[in-house]
């Protein structure tokens, strides 16, 4: 979690005086605080579902594809290439994953999914790096193309095969699931007791050790691995330098084209892995339109996380969690979460008062009161509110902190070998 301090000074000085940097202990403290509040809300409202083990386990399952797409975006953008084509690469991943998976087993499917996504990445790299076409344009084109190609080839690959149609692949064998023996049961028991805080933490951890696919584990491991490669190896330093200042990197002997190509291909491979997860683990088949815009959401999670793996994982988790609320008795649980939101906004208001920003504080108090009134006067919340929540939260976070977010300096800029 460290960017060069010199680069951080400018936005910090511009936005407000003094100590703005969120360090790891502070972040952990905030997370713990939010957890404690959530626990309190759970006990007050009696909506036990919000920190249930199975809720958390579902959330994790839904977060993985988003996180992988986001991680793909991170790799590409750290090398200076914007990748809107993640959605298309995700689609390629789902198709290739299921296509190879039903024929030669799920693990080959995973590899094929990665390869399919990487193929999309290669195309993106050729168009943006070699031909210097605008990155967003190329990404949009790849999304259109991936959709068309997979729909076209599905008609040949899946139609006529037992249990397959032109829109859906035959079932893929499962990769298997595992639960950590003693831990999983123990945590579930604690979770069932309904104790303050302890049960919620048990629920959160229980979700991480119960009914896990090996692919989930791999995906989880890729987040710190990406951080380590990008921030702790010379390869990563060179790759990031291409995203910050390619001309300077070139003058130091870095082959910018090579690094950009590698980064974008890896980016596609990660998105492809996310796609394979969707069509092998989340569902045991490929289905047309299965990705449902998760590539875009992954991109949002990455920006939400300030182009850092940790923040990205947090963003993906948030999206996954709200997604899971939609699936599992969402309307009541979200109704309970309204209370949490009201309290959080109120805390924000107090913080604003302490920083002598009275206008903002008044608005925050008003919002908090409104949300509380909504909570008090209704019994449940329409599902559409649940659907929209992650997007609204992302917009809010972006609008509150966009000036403090820092993307790679040369991100999206065309670069020609000089």
């Amino acid at each position: 979690m460290s960017t060069a301090p010199a680069l951080d000074k400018r936005p910090a000085a511009a936005s407000a005086p003094g100590r703005r940097r969120v360090t790891l202990p502070v972040l952990l403290l905030i997370i713990a605080g939010v957890l404690a509040l959530t626990s309190l809300v759970r006990i007050v409202t009696g909506a036990d579902g919000i920190t249930n083990v199975s809720q958390m386990s579902t959330a994790l399952k839904l977060a993985v594809p988003i996180g992988m797409a986001g991680l793909g975006g991170l790799w590409a953008e750290r090398s200076g290439v914007i990748n809107i084509g993640l959605e298309g690469m995700l689609i390629l991943g789902t198709w290739f994953g299921a296509w190879a998976g039903y024929q030669w087993g799920p693990w080959i499917g995973v590899l094929a999914g990665i390869a399919g996504g990487a193929l999309g990445g290669l195309l993106h790299a050729i168009v943006t790096v070699t031909f210097n076409v605008n990155h967003i344009v190329s990404g949009v084109a790849i999304n259109i193309l991936a959709l068309g190609v997979t729909r076209y080839v599905s008609a040949f690959a899946f139609e006529g095969v037992p249990q397959g149609t032109s829109k859906q692949s035959p079932p893929v064998e499962s990769l298997g699931q595992f639960s950590v023996p003693v831990l999983s049961d123990g945590l579930e028991t604690i979770n069932d007791k309904g104790w303050f805080l302890a049960s919620d933490i048990a629920g959160l951890l229980g979700g991480l050790v119960t009914n896990m696919s090996p692919l989930t584990l791999l995906a989880l491991a890729l987040v710190p691995a990406s951080w380590w490669i990008l921030w702790r190896t010379s390869f990563g330093l060179r790759l990031r330098s291409c995203g910050e200042n390619p001309t300077a990197a070139e003058s130091l002997g870095v082959n910018v084209y090579k690094y950009k190509y590698l980064a974008v291909i890896i980016s596609g491979g990660l998105a492809g892995l996310g796609g394979a997860f969707l069509s092998i683990v989340a569902n045991p088949f490929y289905l047309e339109g299965q990705t449902g815009g998760r590539g875009y959401i992954g991109l949002a999670a990455m920006i939400f996380g300030n182009w850092m793996p940790g923040g990205l994982a947090l963003g993906a988790g948030l999206f996954g969690y709200t997604d899971s609320l939609k699936l599992r008795g969402g309307t009541e649980n979200v109704h309970a979460l309204l209370l949490l939101i009201a309290i959080l906004v109120l805390i924000g208001a107090i913080w604003l008062v302490l920083r002598k920003k009275y206008v903002g504080a008044v608005i925050a108090v008003a919002v908090s009161a409104l949300v509380f009134a909504w909570y008090a006067t209704t019994k449940e919340v329409p599902t559409q509110v649940v659907t929209a929540t992650p997007y609204v939260v992302t917009l809010l976070v972006l609008s509150l902190s966009a000036q403090r977010l820092r993307m790679p300096r040369a991100n999206g800029k065309p670069y020609r070998r000089g």
């Binding site: 076409v133 344009v137 790849i142 259109i144 949002a300 659907t387």
Partner: protein, 387 residues
């Protein structure tokens, strides 16, 4: 100077032509690889385009594409990426459908009201992204993607039976609109009905050209797109331009769903056509942001859509048209870039040759040189717009 213009024209045409040829070749490769005839689908599609009823279908579909692509193109001129056309047109169509079902004025008032409602809704939705960009520095690409998803949820909520929705079988609709709000169709007999909105689309194209090329606002818009700092130096308020362009783009986007809504379905339902907004990005690129180019591009797109339906009955898959659309977009952006670079190099070589031959620039034929620099500036302008 005339000779030079010819070359520019040639270069301008070469981009899309090369792209089309490449896309057709690649599609043929795909067809061959899947064991089909690499030529027959084109013959079938061209034959289809000869029928009057298909032609009407193509024109009707092209109207929506054209309006949506104009909306994208307004943003392009400012280097703004309005990915949110998708959400803007769908939300606008839904709101218009609701207003059309709840309000019943005489036709002369109802139609302008509905068009205004659509434009305002689109502008409002795009304005959120514009405001966030101007005041908080949020990238419009990300915020419009978020707004697209939020629009889907909002539409889902408003079409609930307990809000404004009307359940019809399995379909959630917004109820039939009052017929004073139905846009007149042009009855062409056996060929079917031509949407009256096709003419509105043409008018919008003309208005787009006039506003961008013949007004001060249009000049400011293009100037800001080409170089924000230069425009600011000449007194343009860049922030205000961003917001205005976004609002304008959203307002046009709001109209994109109207050909279907006011001329055909008269209700917003789950089966209302989607992903027009993403398609429009490809069409705007293909047409290079000019009103005529976009018209050709949307006709081509609509042709691929409508003429390919027959393929299913002849042993081919209609999806081949989608592949072709994707390939065309990629081929187009690459070929524009390559042709543009090649043209620039030729121009530099010629200027270099003239210099080497001892002509002092500015002494021999001042108009010629000023023309050249003028056109090169124009080229750059176009290049920027095409991105």
């Amino acid at each position: 100077m005339k000779k030079f213009d010819k070359e520019r024209l040639l270069l301008g045409a070469a981009g899309p032509a090369i792209a089309l040829v490449v896309a057709v070749l690649l599609t043929s490769v795909v067809l061959l690889a899947s064991g089909k005839s690499p030529f027959e689908p084109y013959a079938i599609m061209l034959e289809q385009a000869g029928f009057a009823d298909i032609q009407v279908l193509i024109l009707n579909a092209a109207a929506g594409y054209y309006i949506a692509a104009l909306a994208v193109a307004v943003g392009f001129r400012m280097n703004l990426f309005n990915i949110g056309v998708e959400g803007q047109y769908r939300l606008a169509a839904m709101v218009t459908a609701v207003v059309g079902a709840k309000v019943a004025l005489p036709g002369a008032l109802q139609l302008p009201l509905l068009v205004l409602v659509a434009a305002l809704t689109g502008a409002f939705w795009a304005g959120i992204a514009g405001l966030l960009k101007v005041t908080r520095g949020v990238s419009e690409v990300v915020s419009t993607i978020m707004l697209n998803s939020i629009a889907t949820a909002v539409i889902g909520y408003f079409t609930l039976p307990k809000v404004f929705g009307v359940q019809q079988g399995n379909n959630k609709t917004t109820g039939e609109m009052h017929d004073s709000g139905w846009f007149p169709n042009l009855d062409l007999g056996p060929a079917g009905e031509l949407y009256g909105f096709v003419f509105v689309a043409v008018a919008l194209g003309i208005a787009y050209w006039v506003v961008l090329n013949r007004t001060r606002f249009g000049f400011d818009l293009r100037a800001t797109g080409a170089s924000e700092s230069a425009a600011a130096a000449s007194g343009v308020n860049a922030k205000r331009m961003v917001l205005t362009a976004m609002l304008l783009s959203g307002a046009v986007a709001g109209l994109a769903g109207l050909p279907t809504l006011l001329n055909d379905t008269h209700t917003y339902s789950l089966s209302f056509p989607t992903s027009l907004g993403f398609t429009a990005i490809g069409i705007a690129l293909l047409g290079r942001g000019g009103p005529v180019g976009i018209a050709f591009a949307s006709l081509l797109w609509a042709f691929l859509d409508k003429a390919s339906a027959e393929l299913d009955y002849r042993g081919y898959d209609t999806e081949i048209a989608v592949i072709m659309q994707g390939l065309i977009v990629i081929a187009v952006v690459v070929s524009y870039e390559a042709v543009g670079r090649w043209g620039l190099r030729r121009q530099q070589q010629r200027v270099g040759k003239e210099l080497a031959a001892g002509h002092v620039l500015g002494k021999t034929g001042a108009p010629g040189t000023s023309g050249e620099t003028g056109t090169s500036g124009d080229n750059n302008d176009k290049e920027v717009a095409a991105r």
